[in-house]
């Protein structure tokens, strides 16, 4: 008998970091949808403000709070739910769940944990418990041994024999795992690992060199009914993290016996841990025999379960939520076919290829090779009627300047056969580009296999395509739109989950009439493009429904909510390219418009092509977009309107660069327009640094100039998230804690702003004047640097910004809602209007330094954060601290912990911060960067204290890779909260001091509570920080 629940708390996954991205927004949103369908009240707790799940359209109650026990307990006391779901928020939520289960708090308050029992989860996540359980059940696992200390680990490794794979329990994204060929390589890694694991245990495992990795996704209900929803085949061999691997689904190389034997074992694994819901089970398979091992299981929603959902059309998270509520699988409907039930195994009549997206070029000293640790930031999924069609599409989707396997930069480069093979041996990202290149340069399938260890079946496919390309092969002119229906055409489908193919003749869908909108999504995540854009796309779709008879989405990121086929009338899971858009529109009828502004920079980039193809844009005109993208035209417009801007120049020669430096002096912000990797924006403080910056620019020509601008230090940076209808402007002003020079995506932002009246009023005037001049309709973001009360425009982006979800939630009105109305019917008022801020809101960046092995943690003009956390509060201090603690691994350490503060050129802020922190912490400083009068210690000593878990916080500023690499790297490797800016350090120290240095003093209120009183007239209420 099913228990009926009244109210359920769902835990999210927190800010986006490498290893935990939007897949948990998708799975959490699916769970909330399942709850709503059942008439159960839902509560979501997640500090990630940019998620779709943290809105009242998804959840009844929203708490933007850090995923820590003290906050979760307060939420439970406040909301009194009768159940809680930890399985939809990744490892972060599970860790919190295990913590709460152990403490007995949930039991005491009568809150059921829904889904798999915590003991089962413990069995799955503790490496040693899992191995014992598998061995007991006769399930093959690789020879291994667990160890609780260095000595034991080295002994076990010797017994098993090198090379070994070291793995760490309770971790995400493979953090701390490593392949070691010798004891000398293993020992330092063990050091790092023991510092990280929640339970201080590592597993030493036989390294299965060159084996194939496979992943089954299993759903299982409380009666034990089980189905394998998908089997994903990793192309990269064992040793490359599955998040780093190119993945093909459905699997392509297993025969019936292999497939079914491992499927049965996967179900037995699920049974062994008492799974109620969904898990993945990873296998290693020898490519020369039928031998296989079970590697691990994740008893929760994961990146692979989100991928498997998009691969198959089977909504795993939704079904899991229903199972957690007590349904049997066959009592749940197949939401795609509507005709059949959820107890089946999807059959696919197409092939999908997932490729990760890396952004390693943005980080100094980071390891470039792929390994057992995850470093990719995002992923793309391409769908085709063959492996090659899908892979070729995926290459274009990556947006790395490559058009396809057999065209683009790599194909045309001077890289030779040997070099390409070497890159594959070193596991450089995007091996398939090197493979195609190697084949072009005469390598054999065997050569590439030896270098890459990718199954020859796939290599042969690439080889054949390269040979065809050499013969001048061209893609067929066919274009068909096919539907994904979970049953390979066997039964009619209700959902419009679609892809395009040139390997078919007939489309599944009929042209439709009416007023239609096609929304472009943001594609794959990378640094600077993340779930914020997905939030905008999904909300845009929701609000657009009142103006359009049919709303469609075009996107290809499998992690996201925007690629949930239930969000729109039609989902096109395909390339965001002019050709694709035009073809889709051609297949339709009626009056169709395309919205590009939620797609981030991709949208603006293709707007020119779309305009050229005669596509009607919803929102900003191409002319307006281009007027702001073209640096020269934009600057001229500012001059014409009498708006200040920092001095700048576009230089095409060394002489011009020097002339500009002479005229404005240092420091100078340098942005080359063409670089080999990353985008290398930097600040030059002197002539020598300027020379270095210019050398980084790979080409310097009229086509590829260097943009130079005067860097305005000691200033305030602020921006406005706006909507205009060409006459009036609706805007939210965000002030940055950090000074200009720190990329806006890496800044701590807050509302209401504390700017001087003169500056604020000038900014409003500027936003309005520019809007009126451009006469365009839609959302935009404008950035200012305020120097001595004079705001200067840095840039204007005629599209959604990263901060718009935050702006929206700071006042309780969605900017996409305002935008749709402004475009469709106007704002209804002239002038600049900022709504009243009834409380304080702060947003903090989340960095993934830990995952980026070796990278030097520093702030600068180049964005490096991967996600964000935010909080609302009745005071700035309250909002700031909650927002900051929402970022992992931040927390306020116990009294007497060590705080390390130092700076090469200490500003007033960091000195003041040290004074304030010394009232709670034992402040120490670093020799050669020391702050008086605190005790100076060496960097080695500092790292040693960190290793002993004695350090509660590190605060520093600037960027001096030659000086403090050790202490910064030590902090992130050893999970010590790291503050990289003096102003932020002081704001935090002051807030902590006023809040008594304890988390307990912080509020835990529902998001809507902070909007009460927002109707009050007036705008621009403000305060000063510090």
């Amino acid at each position: 008998m099913r228990k009926s629940y009244r109210k359920i708390l769902v835990i999210g996954s927190g800010p986006i970091k490498i290893g935990e991205a939007a897949e948990f927004d998708y799975s959490g949103s699916q769970a909330l949808k399942a709850l709503r369908e059942e008439g159960i009240k839902s509560v979501i707790m997640n500090p990630n403000v940019a998620t779709v799940q943290t809105t009242h359209t998804m959840a009844d109650r929203v708490y933007l709070l850090p995923l820590r026990r003290e906050f979760a307990e307060k939420v439970i006391l406040e909301e009194k739910p009768d159940g809680v779901m930890f399985g939809f928020g990744g490892q972060s939520a599970l860790n919190l769940g295990y913590d709460m289960y152990k403490s007995g708090f949930l039991k005491k308050h009568g809150v059921d944990i829904l889904g798999t029992h915590m003991e089962g989860i413990n069995d799955a996540l503790s490496r040693s418990a899992f191995h014992r359980l598998m061995e007991k059940r006769g399930i093959p696992v690789p020879p291994s041994g667990s160890a609780k200390n260095m000595k034991e680990a080295l002994r076990k490794a010797k017994e098993i024999g090198y090379p070994v794979m070291m793995r760490v329990s309770f971790n995400l994204g493979g953090r701390g795992s490593f392949v070691a060929g010798s004891e000398e390589k293993l020992a330092p890694e063990l050091d790092r690992a023991f510092a990280q694991s929640k339970v201080s245990e590592v597993l030493i495992e036989k390294y299965l060199d060159g084996w194939k990795e496979l992943e089954y996704e299993i759903v299982r209900d409380a009666d034990g009914n089980s189905a394998a929803v998908a089997c994903l085949e990793n192309l990269d061999p064992m040793g490359v993290h599955t998040g780093e691997s190119t993945v093909v689904a459905p699997q392509q190389t297993l025969d019936n016996q292999e497939y079914q034997e491992m499927r049965s074992v996967a179900i037995r694994v699920a049974e062994a841990i008492g799974l109620v819901g969904e898990c993945n089970v990873q296998f290693a398979l020898d490519m020369r025999s039928r031998q296989y091992y079970v590697i691990e299981t994740n008893p929760r929603m994961s990146r692979s379960s989100a991928l498997a959902s998009k691969v198959t059309g089977y909504p795993i998270a939704y079904v899991s939520a229903k199972i957690a509520l007590g349904y049997r699988i066959y009592e749940i409907r197949n939401s795609v076919s509507k005709a059949t039930n959820a107890f089946f195994e999807p059959s696919l009549d197409y092939i999908t290829v997932k490729v990760p997206r890396w952004d390693l070029g943005k980080f100094e000293r980071v390891d470039q090779g792929l390994s057992s640790e995850m470093k990719s930031i995002g992923e793309v999924m391409a769908i085709g009627r063959s492996f090659i069609e899908a892979l070729d599409k995926a290459v274009g989707m990556l947006d790395i300047g490559e058009q396809g396997l057999c065209s683009g930069r790599m194909w045309d480069s001077g890289i030779g056969r040997k070099e390409a093979l070497k890159a594959m041996r070193e596991r450089k990202p995007y091996w398939f580009l090197y493979a195609a290149k190697a084949f072009k340069e005469g390598a054999s399938v065997d050569d590439v296999w030896k270098a890459s260890k990718v199954d020859k079946f796939f290599l042969k496919q690439i080889f054949d395509r390269v040979k065809l390309a050499d013969q001048g092969w061209k893609k067929s002119g066919n274009f068909a739109i096919k539907r994904i229906d979970t049953l390979a055409g066997e039964a009619p489908a209700d959902a419009n989950y679609l892809y395009t193919t040139s390997e078919a003749i007939k489309s599944d869908i009929e042209p439709s009439e009416g007023k239609k909108l096609l929304i472009l999504g943001a594609g794959c995540f990378r640094i600077g493009v993340s779930v914020e854009f997905d939030y905008s796309a999904v909300n845009l779709a929701a609000y657009a429904k009142k103006h359009f008879s049919e709303v469609s989405m075009l996107n290809y990121n499998p992690e996201t909510v925007s690629t949930d086929w239930n969000v729109v009338d039609r989902l096109y899971f395909d390339s965001i390219a002019t050709q694709t858009v035009s073809s889709i529109l051609e297949k339709g009828r009626g009056d169709a418009q395309v919205a590009v502004f939620a797609a981030g920079q991709i949208g603006n980039s293709i707007s020119s092509g779309l305009a050229g193809a005669g596509v009607k844009l919803f929102g900003h005109s191409y002319a307006a977009i281009d007027a702001c993208e073209d640096r020269n035209r934009f600057s001229a417009m500012l001059e014409r309107l009498g708006v200040s801007q920092p001095e700048w120049a576009s230089a095409t020669s060394r002489k011009e660069i020097m002339r500009f430096a002479e005229s404005v002096g240092f420091p100078i912000l340098v942005r080359p327009s063409y670089v080999l990797s990353g985008s290398a924006m930097s600040i030059a403080n002197n002539l020598e640094e300027l020379e270095r910056c210019v050398r980084n620019a790979a080409r310097l020509s009229a086509k590829h100039p260097v943009i130079l601008s005067r860097y305005i230090g000691n200033s305030i940076e602020a921006e406005m998230d706006c909507v205009t209808d060409g006459k009036g402007v609706y805007g939210i002003t965000l002030q940055h804690v950090e000074e200009a020079g720190v990329h806006s995506g890496d800044s701590t932002m807050f509302t209401p702003n504390g700017l001087g009246k003169g500056a604020y009023s000038k900014m409003k005037g500027t936003a309005l004047a520019l809007s009126n001049e451009l006469g365009s309709k839609g959302p935009f973001n404008i950035q200012f640097v305020v120097e001595k009360e004079v705001p200067k425009v840095i840039e204007l982006n005629m599209r959604c910004s990263r901060s718009m979800p935050f702006s929206s939630k700071s006042v309780g009105k969605d900017i996409m809602n305002v935008a749709v109305d402004a475009i469709a019917s106007g704002l209804g008022r002239n002038g600049f209007y900022e709504p009243h801020h009834a409380s304080y809101a702060v947003k903090s960046p989340q960095f993934s330094w830990t995952q980026l092995r070796g990278a030097y943690p520093a702030l600068g003009p180049e964005m490096r954060s991967t996600g964000e956390s935010a909080a609302l509060g009745s005071s700035f201090d309250d909002a700031l601290l909650k927002s900051w603690i929402g970022v992992q691994p931040n927390f306020i350490a116990p009294k007497g912990s060590v705080a390390i503060l130092y700076s090469k050129n200490p500003g007033a802020e960091i000195i003041l911060a040290a004074e304030k922190l010394s009232k709670w912490f034992d402040v120490k400083t670093i020799s050669d960067g020391d702050l008086q009068p605190f005790e100076a210690i060496s960097q080695d000593r500092a790292v040693e204290l960190m290793r002993l878990h004695k350090v509660g916080i590190t605060v520093t500023e600037g960027s001096h890779i030659g000086f403090d690499y050790k202490v910064r790297r030590g902090s992130v490797d050893l999970n010590v909260p790291l503050v990289l800016n003096g102003r932020l350090g002081l704001a935090l120290a002051a807030a902590m001091e006023r809040k008594g240095f304890v988390t307990e003093s912080l509020e835990c209120l529902e998001m809507g509570r902070y909007w009460e009183g927002r109707q009050k007239a007036g705008s621009g209420n403000k305060r000063n920080i510090q």
Binding site: N256, Y330, E345, D349, K460
Partner: protein
């Protein structure tokens, strides 16, 4: 590559590239949604008289292995040779697997089976779904109307396919265990292997064996296997089954075997619009209150069981309510419309053989 033509009875034509043997083929056009296990599918005698469309777009990836035998029973094929009349795929691939003996193309050519690739198989599948299974012809050349009409005059519903598929001699697999007479209507070796590995002494007899002849072996149990074609043509076989059932020997019926038992008990087996041909289908076990993912390959079905009859429905499909298996109310009888031996398919229903072994 030479062009191949696929003609459908409804007048439509698909053009692709030919592979396998360039011989004209006619058959009932059916599709399977199984994504692998093609070497098992293509040798399943239940596909006799049928041209098979693979909905999964890449076929041939792991090649065709060398046959592996256990006491004369095949372990990686369901019979000695391909049984399909023709094959339709989107993309034919070449193997690179360690245990592949030859490419699918070469294997089909060796056995005289034609294939066509480069076809929009999804479009074809949807057509079959909407119009029902229909006859089709594959040819390596463009056919005249006359030749087409000649070929199309063949009818699946009236062809004696069991006669072609069944063994024509008695095969004794030996052993010391309990004795089973296995009626071969076009059996899959997967059934034999599962019985053999449970210690049974198998005596495999032709489909047209009389009840008395079967009983003369002194069997401890009877197995009625799968097979191709229209069960309505098998009235006399059903009579023999009825006679056998009178003796009350433990009986297992699989697929066609299940249909013959239904007919023997006076129930109505009807043609379905396009059948169940997949390895991903749920059945619910009404007795054990569990659900399994099972392999299906049938174009005919039993839709209901009258209450008060000698049998009751044991398994049903939660999707369309079709009776997927029977159990005797007070006799040792177990039938499944699905394939417990799978091949290709999951191992979820292997317990059926254990349950049957327990009955004998």
């Amino acid at each position: 590559m030479p062009k191949a033509h696929l003609y459908l009875k409804d007048g439509s034509e698909f053009v692709g590239d030919v592979f396998g043997a360039p011989a004209d083929a006619v058959g009932e056009l059916v599709f399977t949604t199984a994504m692998n296990g093609y070497n098992e599918s293509f040798t399943d005698p239940s596909y006799r008289g049928q041209i098979l469309v693979m909905t999964h777009p890449m076929v041939g990836n792991y090649g065709v292995p060398k046959p592996s035998y256990l006491k004369g029973i095949l372990r990686n094929f369901e019979s000695e040779k391909p049984t399909i009349e023709g094959l339709v795929v989107s993309t034919l691939t070449e193997d690179s697997k360690w245990n592949s003996a030859e490419n699918l193309d070469a294997w089909l050519e060796r056995h005289g089976v034609i294939g066509i690739q480069g076809v929009d198989t999804r479009e074809l599948t949807i057509r079959i779904r909407e119009h029902g299974s229909m006859n089709a012809v594959i040819s390596a050349r463009k056919l005249s109307m006359k030749r087409l009409n000649e070929l199309f005059s063949w009818e699946y519903g009236s062809a004696d396919l069991v006669g072609k598929a069944s063994t024509d001699r008695i095969i004794d697999y030996g052993g010391r265990g309990k004795r089973l007479v296995v009626f071969d209507y076009g059996l899959k070796h997967g059934i034999l292997e599962n019985l053999y590995s449970r210690g049974f002494h198998i005596i495999r007899v032709p489909a047209w064996t009389r009840a008395e002849a079967a009983l003369s072996y002194n069997p401890d149990g009877i197995v009625l296997t799968n097979g191709p074609g229209n069960p309505a043509l098998l009235g006399s076989n059903a009579k023999e089954v009825a006679a056998l059932l009178e003796y009350g020997l433990p009986t297992l019926g699989i697929c066609l075997g299940h249909q013959l038992v239904s007919m023997a008990l006076g129930m109505d087996v009807r043609k379905m619009k396009f059948g169940h041909r997949a390895i991903n289908k749920p059945v619910i076990d009404l007795k054990l209150k569990k659900a399994y993912i099972t392999t299906h390959n049938h174009g005919y079905a039993l839709y209901s069981v009258e209450s008060g009859s000698k049998v009751k429905a044991r398994f049903v499909s939660p999707d369309d309510g079709i009776v997927e298996g029977l159990e005797g109310t007070n006799r040792k009888l177990l039938t499944t419309q699905f394939h417990p031996e799978a091949r290709p398919g999951t191992n979820d229903a292997l317990f059926i053989f254990d349950e049957f072994a327990g009955m004998v």
